[in-house]
Assembly symmetry: C2
Homo-oligomer: 347 residues x 2
């Protein structure tokens, strides 16, 4: 006995209802819904009309069960207190997923974390994601990319390019922006510029440092290792580094921090010390997080197009999942320098 074709039973319309209404088979409806070829334009329109009439929505569960794909993309991220970077990541990922018909599944992780790889393995396997996006610093961590390759889970990283890029990678010109910021300070007359490195596990840390060195070199300023301090991208590490730098016999007249949080720490420490910013000390950050524009004085910094980068990553991933060319531009995304009062601008 033939399968019942689910006469309009009051529930949500199914592919059978659409097929019946359009006078075609369910396969044809399926073709239209999935943008497959081999459907006459005329037929396609009839089907689309039926879909619109019935307000038909494909059932994701049925589709997933049959196709063995989940239409879910996983987003693995570091769940740090400072979340403004992740907010932009989320915005970009959600926008791209929505546009592509995918669902985003979040997987926050705490760093540092000895069980990181095990957790990622569990997530990638149990959640049955079709692919995974790895924003910095997750994609920077040793073994993560290798693990996903081993598990055969497609992935896209958003982080400065590695020497031997694997899979889909989206990145921006951190180093250039950093060089621009340093050059700006030099042009303001500074020649003793402190630099606070970021967390060593973030690849951006090297890039931003590189830009600083390049600016010094381009302007013929000698490098002084005493002016470079380690940091961890946290407010507190910025405070501590500033304390060291400002205690030097010849303290710097400007400090570049590798991100805004540390720059806020620098500014905070300068205030505690009774110094005026920018009168006694210019301060520069990186990322243009909300604190940069809300602190006093507001912070000169650089803005990455994070949302766009993540969107590009998701789009590339989805194209790959569809068997198309990932087709990513090889050029880095561009960072924008934002000049504010912490370096003397008086808007």
């Amino acid at each position: 006995m033939a399968r019942r074709k689910r006469e309009s039973a009051g529930g949500k319309p199914t592919i059978f209802d659409v097929a019946q209404r359009a006078g075609v088979s369910i396969k044809t409806v399926s073709r239209v819904v999935n943008h497959e070829d081999n459907v006459r334009e005329n037929t396609r329109e009839r089907v689309l009309a039926a879909i619109a009439d019935l307000d038909y929505q494909p059932n994701a569960a049925a589709r997933g069960l049959s196709s063995k794909r989940s239409y879910v993309i996983g987003l693995i991220y570091e769940n740090a207190d400072e979340f403004s970077y992740m907010k932009h990541v989320l915005d970009g990922a959600l926008a791209a997923c929505e546009a592509q018909g995918y669902t985003l599944l979040l997987r926050p992780l705490t760093l540092p974390n000895d069980e990181l790889l095990a957790q990622i393995r569990t997530f990638a396997v149990q959640a049955r994601v079709d692919g995974v996006v790895l924003p910095a610093p997750i994609g920077d961590i040793d073994g993560v990319v290798d693990l996903l390759k081993e598990l055969d889970v497609p992935f896209a990283t958003v982080t400065p390019r590695t020497p031997k890029p694997e899979g889909i990678n989206v990145f921006c010109d951190d180093a250039q922006a950093s060089q621009d910021l340093a050059s700006y300070l030099i042009e303001q007359g500074h020649n003793r510029i402190g630099f606070i490195l970021g967390h060593p596990d973030h690849r951006a840390t090297e890039q931003r440092y590189k830009g600083y060195r390049q600016a010094l070199k381009a302007h013929g300023i000698g490098y002084d290792a005493a002016l470079v301090r380690k940091g961890l991208f946290t407010f507190e590490s910025g405070q501590q580094a500033a304390a060291k730098l400002l205690s030097l016999d010849t303290p710097p007249t400007a400090i570049m921090a590798s991100n805004d949080d540390m720059a806020a720490g620098v500014s905070f420490h300068a205030h505690e010390r009774g110094l005026d910013v920018p009168g006694d000390l210019s301060v520069v950050g990186f990322d243009d997080t909300p604190v940069a524009s809300h602190m006093w004085p507001p912070l000169t910094t650089a803005r990455q197009p994070i949302s766009s980068m993540v969107e590009a990553a998701v789009n590339g991933l989805v194209r790959q999942l569809r068997g198309e060319e990932a087709n990513l531009s090889e050029a880095p995304f561009h960072c924008e320098v934002v000049i504010r009062r912490s370096t003397g601008a008086t808007p």
Copy 2:
């Protein structure tokens, strides 16, 4: 001809594999997996052992297709620039969903928004979510709750309790915390305390204002309408309100803002004006966002247990979906007051 039982074919183990291994029928496995009754303890253990051996994970798509439930909970939120509140919401929602075996689906919305109800309707229907969580201010908006009731989509709100509570509602003692903050200022010797209201569409706005009024009353300080200004929870609105308040003939010696962003705006404006905080002006915020501890001087504020509240909301929702009693405590969650330097503390 009987359906093939999917001999271990190399793919992921299915319920048939587990049944075979445990020597029971698939229905029994299903019972164990879903914590149903009518399974002998002995049998249950055999099944659990088989599940562990095979590392079996139920297929969500198949389960969803069959049960007509999606095991997805939607989170509808305002996608504002200031995201620290939402970060805690996310943390709580993800934790609860993970614990309950649900998936979280995000739906950011932009406010204000004329198409809000239409967007929510589309989301609730198309996404086939089993239930929806509405953190403030979404649950505060007229018609949202009514719409979900009309659509018959279970929901939980996280926002100050309404006079006639509907569905699941989780809230905290904003008003009490606000009163505590104001009392603290009064005890510090302030008797002209400016107050900046929050966005009128947030129910918390009333609560925080109420606490301010109560503190004045409790200390026998007369109410002066000139000391109360409207705000929108934004940094800029805080700046503007501060400008008005500090231009009064007899300006306040302390300003309470209904959130940290506005308080940051107040502090910022005070600096622009050459005033010392807290020397010339004490400043108080609400929410204990990251900026509160990173700005100079750090901000006295109050901290809501947002993650816990959202966790409770999701847990209540899931219990309702399971047909159990929502079983929510009727007591509000407690806010903690955090004293910092912006009101004269010198830690």
